[in-house]
């Protein structure tokens, strides 16, 4: 929408002079690479190349970059989140440091089609488990999870596509903690357009204290559903 604003610049005279040196310009015209990748898996890999610096080649994520493991998330959820980023629903809060780093990356995806392609690729990868990076009591965490989260995210943490609740089993514990804090403070999920955020915020606020959050996060990070 910002493209519609007219900020016309008159053509530089020098550009015309250089244009006159037509030999090279003709060469330019001949060299326009306009081949779109036909094979969709090539396209997937091409687009995922933009994600790799942070989320790694196997979708295992990088704590250093604040990028979680994303392999194995279902495509609908990934697509939904990427759309939220693009629309400024997620990652457009001044205090959302990781979100603001993710937000501009959406500029490398040309549109809805690209988002679908890359979401499908993310979904096709398997979840990369990481050892716990925090201290947390998995047993207590499990109890809290089954009591307050499992109704949407599933008893095995596999998520619920109808509710757009993502798979949580195997997500990085540090990522879950950060996101729960963001939900609690309204850095994430406070936008009126964010239907899932609106549901998630009171749930996050319902967790008793910091240690409970960590317990749940560590429990989920090590949770291996039976299907595996």
């Amino acid at each position: 929408m910002i493209h519609t604003t007219s900020t016309t610049t008159r053509r530089a005279p020098f550009a015309r002079v250089l244009l006159g040196a037509g030999l090279l310009a003709a060469l330019v015209a001949g060299c326009h690479p306009d081949q779109r990748m036909s094979a969709s898996s090539d396209r997937q890999k091409q687009l995922y190349a933009y994600c790799m610096q942070c989320h790694q080649i196997d979708g295992g994520g990088s704590k250093l970059a604040g990028a979680p493991n994303i392999g194995g998330l279902d495509a609908a959820y990934v697509e939904n989140q990427l759309n939220k980023w693009r629309d400024g629903v997620r990652g457009a809060h001044p205090d959302d440091a990781e979100g603001l780093r993710m937000r501009p990356m959406l500029r490398t995806l040309a549109g809805t089609e690209d988002i679908k392609v890359v979401a499908a690729y993310v979904a096709s990868m398997s979840t990369v488990y990481a050892p716990p990076s925090l201290y947390g009591d998995q047993e207590k965490g499990g109890k809290v999870y089954q009591a307050s989260c499992a109704s949407c995210h599933g008893t095995e943490g596999l998520g619920n596509q109808a509710m757009m609740a993502p798979r949580l089993a195997g997500r990085n514990d540090w990522y879950l903690v950060t996101q729960l804090h963001k939900f609690r403070s309204g850095v994430r999920g406070a936008d009126p357009r964010d239907a899932q955020g609106a549901m998630m915020r009171p749930m996050a606020l319902g967790l008793a204290d910091e240690q409970t959050i960590r317990d749940v996060a560590v429990y989920l990070s090590q949770l291996k559903p039976k299907e595996m």
Binding site: L18, L27, Q53, R107, A110
Partner: protein, 584 residues
């Protein structure tokens, strides 16, 4: 002069020149030789190899800029991370691993002993160590591209906190290896620089006074002195940066009392003299080549020498012009704008000397001469556009735009590429005993020069029109996606590819001529300086008979002589009242 007692070090090494004909094991010959000519060639080939990497990077990111987000032929998709990595490494490679080793180390090593009439460097083993250390630093740099996270991508200036915190640059090992590679490389050049200075001071042939020293030697010596004086702060800064990266110190971290701008001062205190460190050797080559092919005495030996020393001194007081808008006290900009603009005075003087040398001369447009003349023409563009950037008021607009890039490529390309080609084509017969192919050389020259101007002229204008550097794709900036800007970028990128392809000509010519070229005589150009008085290529130990110097290096077309040149070591003949140059 007490020169030869010092060079005697050269004889004491185990396989000295007395058994030069003895067939050495290849390992000793190539990896352990202390012959300055072997070391020079190794520096040269390493530098050329690194130039291929740096040049390939340039092609890839230029292509990405012209045709954003399309797969680049022979590379693939350029992501923001790989783009940043490539621009960073292009800058690092071209300055530290191409310009320095080729101009300063390769030619310094090759020319200084030959031009001052010594049989080797004064410290041959230090010289060998210098190359080995340089090789290690190059390997570290290339290795850094392949570590997890990839090569460092925080620009060749490596401003902290970006370069200091791996949570910011996302290249935990690449950034450390980058600093280490650069710091280790400085160690190599410190060792080389000591050698250059001491050799030129102490190992000169008998009779060679200060003003009989060829300017190429002078320039390399001044450059080495400048390098030594400026590099200290940067090595200190590099150590701090490595500690910030790996050991949790916070020299550059503002959250805990550090100051990120400190690095900028340390870096540019080195970084600006560094420009002249590579410029001066190239000017030295010109001072050799222009008189030889115009058969005329250099116009103003002293002017050139003192202007160069003046430039060298002044260049230590201009560094903050890189930081006008970086948050330093704005009043400082006034001082640095003044000192920066004043540098135009000695540089203009140097250009006047070169141009005046051509007056009433007899110019032979050989390939080295073409390169030398193109240096003058192209460097003028770089010189005058520098004034825009030094003038603080104008720099507000130009800072970090493509105008800056175009400006310094118009200085660095003449220095590092044209200067190297000039030196290489000029001394090739001496180095390898054979001539380069003249026709191929001309073809390569014209394609390179024309494509170079097509690369960078358009980018002056995109810079004025607001293209900022280090942006991996302009597609996200609506104001910058107008058709004229896109056209200018495309012209530039296609010209880059053309220039890259043209270098095949050079490498083909270079390697073919090395083995199959026309054999060169000892002094094919009729030049005066001492390197042409020994066989081509010079044997180990260089001179069969120690030369004695009687006059300055630029006595061409002397009216009292039949021949239009007058070698420095030719004893004065015909006692008809003509006094030799150096006699009192």
């Amino acid at each position: 002069m007490a020169s030869h007692s010092v060079t005697a070090h050269g004889h004491s090494e185990p396989h000295g020149h007395h058994d030069a004909h003895h067939e050495e094991h290849w390992f000793l010959k190539y990896c352990w030789s202390t012959d300055h000519k072997m070391i020079a060639k190794q520096y040269l080939l390493t530098g050329l190899f690194m130039a291929l990497i740096g040049g390939f990077f340039a092609y890839v990111f230029r292509w990405q800029l012209a045709f954003p987000n399309q797969p680049v032929p022979f590379f693939g998709i350029v992501t923001p991370a790989s783009y940043n990595m490539m621009i960073t490494q292009h800058g690092t490679i071209m300055i530290f691993f191409v310009a320095m080793p080729v101009l300063l180390a390769a030619f310094g090593n090759y020319l200084i002993p030959l031009m001052v009439g010594a049989d080797d460097m004064v410290f041959p083993r230090l010289n060998r160590a210098s190359y080995q250390v340089f090789l290690i630093s190059s390997i570290i740099l290339i290795w850094s591209f392949f570590v997890p996270g990839g090569g460092f991508g925080g620009a060749w200036t490596a401003y902290p906190p970006l370069s200091a915190g791996s949570q910011f640059n996302l290249t935990p090992s690449g950034s450390t290896l980058w600093v280490v590679a650069v710091a280790v490389e400085f160690v190599a050049f410190l060792m080389g620089g000591i050698n250059f200075i001491v050799t030129a001071m102490n190992a000169r042939a008998p009779g060679m006074k200060f003003e009989d020293v060829p300017l190429a030697v002078w320039m390399i010596v001044i450059a080495s002195i400048m390098f030594m004086m400026s590099v200290g702060p940067l090595i200190a800064g590099s150590v701090m940066l490595i500690m910030d990266q790996n050991f949790g110190t916070h020299f550059f971290d503002p959250r805990t009392g550090g100051d990120p701008v400190l690095w900028q001062h340390l870096f540019w205190f080195f970084g600006h003299p560094e420009v002249y460190v590579v410029l001066l050797p190239a000017l030295g080559f010109l001072a050799e080549i222009l008189p030889v092919f115009s058969r005329k005495k250099l116009f103003g030996y002293r002017t050139l020498l003192y202007s160069s020393i003046g430039t060298a001194c002044l260049s230590f007081f201009v560094w903050a012009h890189h930081q006008f808008i970086s948050g330093i006290d704005p009043r400082m900009a006034n001082v640095f704008a003044a000192t920066t603009v004043l540098i135009s005075i000695p540089i203009a003087e140097i250009m006047f000397v070169f141009i005046a040398t051509l007056y009433r001369s007899s110019i032979q447009f050989t390939v080295p001469m073409l390169w030398a003349l193109s240096f003058v023409a192209e460097f003028l563009v770089g010189g005058v556009t520098g004034i825009f950037l030094g003038a603080s008021g104008a720099d507000i607009h130009f800072h970090d735009t493509y105008f800056v890039l175009a400006h310094f490529h118009y200085t660095f390309f003449p220095i590092a590429i044209i200067g190297s080609f000039a030196g290489l084509t000029y001394w090739f017969p001496k180095m390898f005993g054979r001539h380069l192919n003249e026709g191929l050389g001309r073809l390569h020259f014209w394609i390179t020069i024309i494509s170079f101007n097509f690369i960078w002229m358009p980018l002056f204008f995109t810079g004025i029109m607001g293209d900022h550097r280090r942006i991996y794709s302009f597609a996200n900036f609506p104001d910058l996606m107008t058709p004229d800007r896109i056209l200018l970028r495309e012209i530039s990128s296609v010209a880059t590819a053309v220039m890259g392809v043209a270098q095949i000509l050079f490498f083909a010519n270079f390697f073919w001529s090395m083995y199959k070229g026309r054999k060169a005589e000892d002094n094919p150009y009729g030049a005066n300086t001492l390197e042409w008085r020994c066989p081509s290529p010079p044997p180990h130990g260089n001179f069969a008979v120690m030369p004695t110097v009687y006059r300055g290096p630029y006595e061409y077309s002397h009216p009292d002589r039949e021949s239009d040149f007058w070698p420095q070591d030719e004893p004065p003949v015909g006692q008809g009242g003509l006094k030799p140059e150096g006699a009192h």
